[in-house]
């Protein structure tokens, strides 16, 4: 279709939303985008970009060339885009809207309306722990002697530092601000027992399904899809590390108001609930669980039992420390 090849966008009633692609685009299209167009006549185009698309957003705002109007981004991304001398996101100003008000404050910020929660959990192969005690915490993961098995750890300090601290016995509440020295000391202990340092979710999924690895920390969606593929995999929600995805509006976009309309529309509890038909979404409206089948609900990161024992990511800590920690992690891993 030639329309696809026309330059970025035609004027008119249309907003372009960056999302995570894949199943998100599919689910959002069915649950948010098309119904919104039907309801308002405003076309919504969902586009995918690489993770953490801060560079694109900065460029679009700097050049005033709004290929996107809004984006689904994480807390660290929001911090990166709003903490300098120039602010690249529009304040949404929707706090007082009824449909937004009902979202818990922990999912909200002036530049983003929480729409999804993702969690990093401990996952293991049940066949590897058949007839013996399975790991239930990061401490168990760190306990190589009592919980033998092939381990994988993410080759990146995000989440890994928190896991190391909890693995060393630091209570969830005291993880932040992270004691980095202690975290690396803890990592030292497990370093030699790590068979694989993973870098991508797809890799994790493959390793879980093929039995390459017995236990590892990973984003919960991966063991979930491994389960769906029939692999004997179990998820430990205890001490899950969670963070939020938000609807954010690019500063200066002429379609900011349409975006606001869309955010309101997409924050509707019933609508959020409908996402679970596609995947176990991290619903940010507590009320949404009223509309979700219980067997689906317990797979959602924000299901009360799941999130209760978890740890919320401190984006500010990472914003302040990531440069140093990443560098240290990189040199640690080579040593």
């Amino acid at each position: 279709t030639p329309a696809i090849w026309s330059p970025s966008r035609a004027a008119g009633k249309r907003i372009v939303v960056r999302d995570d692609g894949g199943i998100y685009t599919k689910a959002y299209g069915a649950v948010f985008y098309r119904p919104f167009t039907d309801a308002t006549g405003i076309e919504v185009v969902g586009v995918q970009a690489n993770a953490e698309p801060v560079a694109q957003i900065k460029t679009m705002v700097d050049t005033k060339n709004y290929t996107w109007d809004m984006a689904k981004i994480s807390w660290p991304a929001i911090l990166l885009l709003t903490n300098g001398s120039k602010v690249y996101l529009e304040k949404h100003g929707l706090e007082s809207e009824p449909v937004i008000k009902s979202i818990p404050a922990e999912f909200m910020s002036p530049y983003g309306v929480g729409t999804n929660v993702y969690t990093t959990v401990l996952a293991y192969r049940t066949d590897a722990f058949k007839g013996r005690k399975a790991p239930q915490s990061w401490a168990d993961f760190w306990n190589v002697a009592e919980f033998p098995g092939r381990r994988a750890v993410r080759k990146h300090p995000f989440d890994t530092i928190e896991e190391a601290l909890m693995g060393a016995g630091v209570p969830t509440a005291q993880v932040y601000p992270c004691d980095v020295d202690k975290a690396f000391a803890s990592l030292d202990k497990i370093k030699s027992s790590v068979a694989v340092w993973w870098t991508s979710g797809a890799q994790v999924e493959q390793m879980l399904i093929s039995g390459e690895i017995d236990l590892l920390p990973t984003w919960v969606s991966r063991p979930q899809s491994a389960q769906a593929a029939g692999a004997p995999v179990e998820i430990v929600w205890n001490q899950g590390i969670w963070g939020g995805d938000n609807w954010s509006i690019l500063a200066g976009t002429p379609n900011a108001d349409a975006c606001r309309e869309f955010i309101k529309f997409a924050s509707d509890p019933k609508r959020q609930a409908a996402l679970t038909e596609y995947f176990p979404a991290g619903l940010t409206q507590p009320e949404a669980f009223n509309y979700v089948k219980p067997e689906l609900a317990k797979n959602c990161p924000t299901y009360p039992d799941n999130i209760k024992a978890g740890l919320k990511i401190d984006a500010k800590f990472w914003f302040d420390n990531q440069a140093a920690v990443i560098e240290r992690f990189n040199s640690w891993i080579l040593a």
């Binding site: 894949g22 199943i23 801060v54 990166l80 080759k155 694989v196 797809a202 093929s210 440069a323 040199s331």
Partner: protein, 602 residues
């Protein structure tokens, strides 16, 4: 008589014509090299330069802080060394393994050539992402090879084949071998077959004849292949990340982290500059040792000023070749004697066996996808059940077909544009006496060296201003920037062995420069041109980073679609798509071959 009418020619007039010739030469240079320079300046130097400048400028003016940070920790140098190690090893293996393959292809008849080329190119049509996954499936603890070895009783417990230097090497070589083979092939096709035979009559055994005659003549191809594989390998990071272990970190990965996670442009710029400088050093060293001049054609006037360095290097090179020749001949002698009535015009069985083994190995990932695409157990070995579900999904979903068509279109566009811009530049570098050829070469290669992410971000900035984001033309431009070095390098390597007397003959027969190119030069350089085009096409067809940025996510290309497919869930859909592409290409080549034979028969 005629004498009286002849126009008198004054000395002054002579000077003018000389000057006007110089001027017209300058114009020719500009016309041939201009487009490439403009392309690179606009879409590479300007945007990337701005980003790199951030490493010495911040809000408060001039700073060297990023560089201080760079050297404060050993980690960046370490990662750089690891990157170089992986890239060099990849280059070495690609050239060493690729050479016999290219050689065999260059000597067999037309029919077998097509078959061999098909197998070499097979991996081109499978996304690098899919291939990386295939290697995980092949080499994993419960993978194809381990299962096979276990069932044969060769090993008793699964061997660790994955997540180490070796597996990274396998993945990288798999990705870059076609590049090496085609580059060397394009040069080998133009080597006079009479020369090794002449050497044989002069007493050179096969080893000697090869190392002292054939090999030096193929050296421009080896040099081009080596430098291109090396430079390309440096930019790889996804394959090493997926297949590597704890220590296999590529410098590009660090740069991307800085861009994506911390938005520290200054520091990303500083690492990039470090990388660029190191590549430049490698480049210069390489030039000194092997001589990039062998590729630019600046070899002729060497005699006039024999450099003090070149001579010993040449001597050492000669001694090494002699040694290699002797060793090879010893080995050949030690081998069981070959069939007596072997035709000297045919390739040996050992060579054929080696080449086919290698071709099967590099095609393994693509072939593996075929059984997996019919299974229900995901990307796992052995496949379970039988289903056509994944094919239904692919064929019923417009996104895949659209992405495929779009990639095809952009790939063809990129191939065409890169040829259009790169070929004249290659001619200029080989045929003319433009000053500073090595520097130009470095400049032309820079799009491969500069990390893709940096280019993509910089380019996005330019595109955004020009309103090119999301347009096919923008994407083609973007891909051309990174594809054009392959075209220039291959064409240069090919041109080195070209007999310019044929061009002269054509011109004397009345062919204008363009007709000469069309009827003589290009057809004779056919293999090389085809290779160049294919690289450009394949570069675009498999390109992800720039596509992600330049499209703004609006129009998915095939690699983008693959990438998308695995971001949340790994399903055999990608296997199904790979298999479809494989069948499509197979058919295409089969039909083309049929047509060619029909035409030849007439």
């Amino acid at each position: 008589m005629a004498l009286a009418k002849a126009p008198a020619i004054e000395p002054g007039q002579l000077r003018t014509t000389a000057r006007s010739r110089a001027r017209s030469q300058a114009w020719t240079w500009a016309a041939m090299g201009g487009p490439l320079v403009l392309l690179l300046v606009f879409f590479l130097v300007y945007p990337v330069g701005q980003l790199l400048l951030l490493s010495i400028y911040n809000d408060s003016g001039f700073t060297l802080a990023p560089y201080r940070q760079l050297f404060a920790s050993a980690v960046y140098i370490d990662v750089l060394l690891i990157t170089l190690k992986i890239s060099l090893a990849t280059t070495l293996v690609c050239v060493v393994v690729g050479y016999p393959i290219a050689y065999l292809i260059s000597v067999v008849g037309k029919d077998r050539k097509a078959t061999l080329l098909f197998w070499v190119l097979l991996s081109f049509w499978t996304s690098f992402l899919v291939r990386a996954f295939a290697w995980i499936v092949l080499l994993g603890r419960n993978g194809v090879i381990n299962k096979l070895l276990l069932s044969l009783g060769i090993i008793s417990s699964p061997a660790s084949l994955l997540f180490n230097f070796g597996s990274v090497l396998v993945g990288m070589v798999n990705a870059l071998l076609p590049l090496a083979v085609l580059t060397m092939l394009s040069v080998m096709e133009n080597i006079d077959r009479n020369l090794p035979r002449a050497a044989a009559t002069l007493g050179a055994r096969p080893g000697m004849a090869f190392w002292k005659i054939y090999f030096p003549l193929s050296l421009p191809g080896v040099a081009a292949a080596g430098i291109m594989v090396f430079v390309t390998a440096i930019g790889f990071f996804i394959v090493p990340a997926l297949l590597g272990g704890r220590r296999e970190t590529m410098i590009t990965q660090l740069i991307i982290d800085q861009v994506q996670q911390t938005l520290n442009w200054g520091f990303a710029g500083a690492i990039s500059v470090l990388l660029l400088i190191v590549v430049l050093i490698v480049f210069v060293a390489y030039d000194r040792l092997l001589g990039l001049s062998t590729m630019t054609g600046a070899a002729a006037p060497r005699r006039a000023a024999p450099s003090r360095l070149a001579d010993p290097v040449q001597k050492i090179g000669d001694a090494v070749l002699t040694l290699l020749g002797m060793i090879s001949d010893r080995i050949i002698l030690a081998l069981p004697s070959r069939r007596r009535d072997r035709n000297p015009e045919q390739a040996g069985l050992g060579l054929q066996a080696f080449v086919w083994t290698m071709l099967i190995i590099i095609s393994a990932p693509t072939i593996l996808m075929i059984p997996l695409s019919f299974g229900t157990g995901g990307l796992n070995w052995p496949p379970q059940g039988f289903t056509l579900h994944w094919y239904e999904t692919v064929l019923h979903s417009p996104v895949w077909t659209q992405a495929f068509l779009r990639s095809l279109l952009v790939g063809l566009g990129t191939g065409g544009l890169a040829m259009l811009i790169g070929t004249p530049a290659a001619f200029l570098l080989v045929r003319s006496n433009v000053p500073g050829k090595a520097a130009w070469l470095a400049f032309i290669l820079s799009p491969i060296v500069v990390p893709r992410m940096i280019i993509a971000v910089g380019m996005f900035y330019v595109f955004a201003r020009m309103g090119l984001v999301g347009s096919a033309f923008g994407l083609i431009l973007g891909h051309t920037v990174v594809a054009v070095p392959y075209v220039v390098m291959t064409m240069m390597a090919v041109l080195r062995n070209y007999d310019t007397r044929l061009d002269h003959a054509a011109q004397s027969l009345g062919a204008r420069p363009f007709a000469t190119l069309r009827h003589i030069t290009f057809p004779i350089l056919g293999a090389g041109m085809f290779s160049s085009f294919l690289f450009a096409f394949a570069t675009s067809f498999d390109e992800l980073t720039i596509a992600l940025f330049a499209t703004g996510g609006l129009n998915a290309t095939l690699p983008k679609q693959f990438w998308d497919e695995v971001t949340l869930q790994v399903s055999p859909v990608i296997a199904a798509v790979s298999t479809c592409l494989f069948i499509f290409m197979g058919l295409l080549i089969f039909v083309a071959e049929r047509l060619r034979r029909r035409a030849a028969a007439r």
